[in-house]
Symmetry: C2
Subunit: 343 residues, 2 copies
DNA sequence: CTGAAAGCGCTTACAG
DNA sequence: CTGAAAGCGCTTACAG
């Protein structure tokens, strides 16, 4: 189907070496010969076999990325940054979602190893990693950068957001609006969830405000539980005037619960998200949230990985400590939070 | 870094051939020798080099996919189906987004060719394809399946949705609710947009309802234009009582415009989407829409491609006509559409 | 049962 | 300027 260099050489009536040199513009080939070869190569649509080059050079110019799934808008923002950066540096990308694997990642990492990717970017799996999984991670023999969730401490290179300061900032915003009864819908299953909860708690403590246990709601899943819990919480006599949410999607569910209970946002209830997905501007009320620069996270993660790959080539990898990059976040005030109205 | 079979053979004190046979459980190796080799291979974490196998077999067990970006939820649903299917068949996947390329796809297709992918799945680019681009597509020398947009007619294999019947179904739904003044926000830049418009028009014609040109709004982009146009349209004295939208995201923008103009949905205005993304259940009012089975589209596209790859192996490709698979859609009635209230 | 040889598609010294 | 040879990491007939 696709012509080989050997066949091309035969067609041109020269040796394979001459074809190779011509196509790569290396010196030592007669100009006319070179042109002729190039013309014929083009006519037969010759494409050099990258697999061979990879074997010879020991570099595939390929990175692997493992992600959760493709319906996650936030992950999509990160992906965009990763793609841009890896492309600019001439790397291609193999993508494997968690979820496909039921062996805690073992087969995913084996695939990447067999394909000889030069480096690996890993999004966190949906749940907390098992010891088995961490062990798999340690066996990976190419550079590796973790994204978003920092559950391994500083054992690996990592790029994420300043979750705790971000959560504090949005809590401060609610407090400054006069809110005192503030609930928090957190997601304890992931490290970012716990960090954001800490940020919330420390801001509340600093302001001297009490945090009631009943207003600390640990969401069981990201899809529907927040709606159910919000409906329960908001149906009670003594309900909060504001709710800090783990992310924008949770906030949307809280907004939906409030709507269904005929509680007006922001007049009767303030709701705050986290992430700043594009939907925050398309829903009503527009969502107040903390902006994470997803694309930048992707860019930095890819850059860090590419650096590590370069260092590996120079055998400098052992001298280097894991890096932990946390990107700043920013409060974006929209219409879902407002001054509390005293009755 | 990673041990080679040659090194492994040396470590085991046997020939490369024996190692190869042992690891692949081929007959003709002494049981003890085999076990010893396997143990040592495991200890040194030997991973066979897939690049070599690909060169030898002429199959990379790899498919390429080109998509628009990763923030598109609908595309994400399709991706999920693709991933599931290609994984189940033992294929890996290289992903390249349009957008990275400023040469109308030429470098994307070159990359896939050099990497020797066994097949290609292509999502449509954001805009209508240029002749140059179609030419690039024709030069692709591996099996190829187009997804979602059918702009090349039936020149290539294609998997998409029954857009026209779907659009008719949702129009019928609005008509059955008593609506007579129905607007349509369509997206003329893509083939699905034009098909859905046709479906709308034919349903209106069948019901003997007039379609006013001013209520046929061609959206300039998918991000913001619908909001702007909806605000204009809905501010006029003589406004429609229902709006059919190209997709759920457009519908969200129309919903936002109505909200900002204090027009109540569905009491004063019905709004219908297309796609049935997960957000349709999280927003208020919940969106009436046409469900496309995105995952199934992905599954079918991947299956078709895998079939074609098999046929290529058997050299049967020329005997075969391009296939055009259109998957059925389904009306999902929620809260954004309702009986018209006569004043 | 075991291993030497040829070959996949290329590149890179090295002769001529 | 041109090409024969060796080698990348494997697998697959084929001798022994």
């Amino acid at each position: 189907m696709m012509i080989s260099l050997k066949q091309l050489a035969k067609l041109c009536g020269v040796s394979e070496a001459t074809v190779s040199k011509s196509l790569h513009n290396r010196p030592g080939v007669n100009a006319q010969t070179r042109e002729k070869i190039k013309t014929i190569a083009k006519r037969f649509n010759y494409q050099p076999n990258a697999l061979v080059r990879s074997i010879q050079s020991g570099k595939t110019l390929m990175i692997g990325i493992v992600c959760d799934h493709f319906k996650n808008i936030y992950a999509g923002m990160i992906m965009a940054g990763v793609q841009k950066t890896r492309f600019a540096h001439g790397y291609d990308m193999i993508v494997i979602p968690w979820g496909l694997s039921d062996t805690e990642g073992a087969d995913i990492f084996r695939t990447f190893a067999e394909r000889r990717v030069d480096g690996l970017l890993v999004f966190p799996p949906d749940e907390l990693p098992t010891p088995r999984y961490i062990a798999e991670l340690r066996r990976v023999s190419c550079p590796l950068v973790l994204i978003d969730q920092s559950w391994t401490g500083c054992e690996f290179d990592f790029v994420g957001s300043e979750d705790k300061p971000g959560a504090s900032a949005i809590t401060d915003h609610l407090i400054s609006l006069g809110h005192r009864k503030i609930a928090n819908f957190y997601y304890g299953a992931v490290t970012t969830g716990r960090s954001r909860l800490e940020g919330f708690q420390s801001a509340m403590a600093k302001a001297g405000l009490p945090v009631h246990q009943k207003w600390l709601v640990n969401i069981a899943d990201l899809q529907h539980d927040a709606y159910v819990q919000a409906k329960q919480l908001l149906s009670r006599e003594d309900r909060p005037t504001a709710i800090c949410c783990f992310n924008d999607h949770i906030a949307m569910q809280v907004l939906a619960a409030a709507w269904d209970l005929k509680i007006t946002v922001p007049a009767e209830l303030s709701v705050a998200g986290f992430a700043d997905l594009w939907i925050t501007e398309d829903i009503r009320p527009r969502l107040t949230t903390i902006r994470q620069d997803g694309e930048k996270i992707g860019v930095e993660a890819a850059k860090l990985l590419l650096d590590r790959i370069k260092q590996t080539k120079k055998n400098q990898l052992d001298e280097i400590e894991p890096r932990c990059i946390l990107l700043p976040t920013k409060l974006v005030i929209r219409d879902s939070t407002a001054q509390i109205i005293e009755k």
